[in-house]
């Protein structure tokens, strides 16, 4: 008797109309039909010979083709006899030593950052995302990097308005004088100022749009990613809010800077104190399996959730379990549509007062 065994690092996510097979070793995800899901389920329990008996000659050929596909893609292997219990399943436990992995802060002046540097070290924060509402000079960027010299931060990402001084030499100097910044995003940039093949220690993006912080929360294929850490976090926790702190322009400490509830202010308390306030972590363990529509979506573990902007249709035990507002995917039709044009979302869009997003 021959048995097909799926490798432990292959994760299958069943959607309403298709499945997503994620290879957690190669960091790749592929879409397949629901039919393949049924065959994989049968292969888990029965031998290939027994399964084939249940099908007519024509369908047997298809089963063979599916098994060939699974072998070709290296999703599993065939053994003589049932060895399945001897290949233990992968643990889906997400392990992360840092109390907080990332902070998203909106600032109007870089001096605000002094209020959180000590907490960043205490909490073991890995990444800091800064949204600046005002232009930042060369000195400002260098000072931001200097503030976190010797800190536990592994990287800093900065959104800031574009201005005329930003040119190639600007980045050449920053490349020499900064070490933790890994991404610059300049918004409100009418024309890309230069093109270069030079390799910097950071990525640079220019956007012609006047991006507001309220633009966050978009769900798009470009934001999907397959890797073990991301997927394990999404399986057990909220893929956006788990181990995150948000600080709004007024210094209010929140789980996300765009959410209404705050747990203190950086001018009066520390981030460690804010974390202890009941309710701060209420969304941390809300997974996509409990969010309306998302629970039937094949992309639910490679997608990043948003609780700041939702369709505002469902709640469960005081938690908003509605579909993210800025997601245009429908798992029941397998179609992507522009979310801002969806008539069913208009009420929520008005509720959040996001008229500028409807136009875009």
């Amino acid at each position: 008797m021959k048995y097909f065994n799926l490798f432990s690092n292959i994760l299958i996510t069943k959607g309403a109309r298709r499945i997503l097979i994620s290879d957690l070793q190669r960091n790749l995800s592929d879409l397949y039909t629901l039919e393949l899901y049924d065959i994989i389920e049968e292969l888990k329990n029965d031998s290939i010979e027994d399964i084939l008996k249940n099908y007519d000659t024509e369908s047997q050929q298809i089963i063979h083709e599916y098994i060939d596909l699974l072998l070709e893609k290296e999703y599993g292997f065939i053994t003589n006899g049932d060895w399945d219990r001897n290949f233990p399943a992968l643990s889906y436990e997400f392990q992360e030593v840092s109390e907080i992995t990332n902070i998203f802060i909106e600032i109007d002046h870089i001096s605000v950052l002094d209020k959180i540097t000590a907490s960043i070290d205490n909490l073991g924060v890995k990444h800091l995302v800064i949204y600046a509402s005002k232009e930042l000079s060369m000195n400002d960027y260098q000072d931001i990097d200097k503030k976190f010299k010797d800190s536990v931060l592994e990287g800093i990402e900065i959104y800031a308005p574009f201005h005329q001084a930003v040119d190639q030499s600007f980045f050449q100097i920053l490349n020499e004088t900064t070490s933790r910044i890994y991404s610059f995003i300049f918004y409100n940039c009418k024309e890309i100022p230069f093109k270069t093949k030079e390799i910097f220690g950071f990525s640079i993006n220019f956007s012609h749009e006047n991006i507001k912080i309220s633009a966050c929360g978009k769900v798009d294929l470009k934001y999907f990613n397959t890797n073990l850490s991301k997927i394990l976090e999404a399986v057990k926790h909220n893929s956006c809010l788990h181990k995150k702190i948000g600080i709004d322009i007024n210094g209010n400490i929140k789980n996300c800077p765009l959410m209404p509830e705050s747990s203190g202010n950086i001018y009066q308390s520390t981030l460690e104190e804010a974390l202890e306030i009941p309710g701060f972590k209420k969304y941390w363990n809300l997974t996509k399996d409990h969010i309306e529509v998302c629970k039937d979506c094949e992309f639910r573990y490679i997608c990043t959730d948003c609780r700041a902007y939702t369709e505002l249709t469902h709640t469960n035990n005081g938690l908003d379990t509605s579909k993210p507002l800025k997601c245009g995917y429908n798992p029941y039709t397998e179609k992507w549509e522009k979310w801002s044009k969806n008539p069913l979302k208009q009420k929520a869009i008005e509720n959040y007062n996001l008229p500028e997003l409807i136009k875009s």
Binding site: E154, S179, K218, K230, T304
Partner: protein
């Protein structure tokens, strides 16, 4: 770790006999040094500078 410990007894001078075969150009292209940053709390000069494993913000 170099800031933390002082060796009481120095290692035997075997390094003296190691032949260096890397050329200058090889050293230049090896920019792995740029992937590390110093970190006081973890007592290291080699904290790996890593990009996040998921998109932390989705504004674009």
């Amino acid at each position: 770790m170099k800031h933390l410990f002082k060796e009481e007894k120095k290692l035997p001078l075997t390094f003296k006999y190691i032949e260096h075969f890397r050329t200058k150009t090889n050293n230049k292209t090896n920019n792995a040094k740029g992937s590390y940053v110093p970190c006081k709390r973890y007592h290291t000069d080699y904290l790996l500078r890593e990009n996040p494993t998921k998109p932390l913000t989705r504004l674009l």
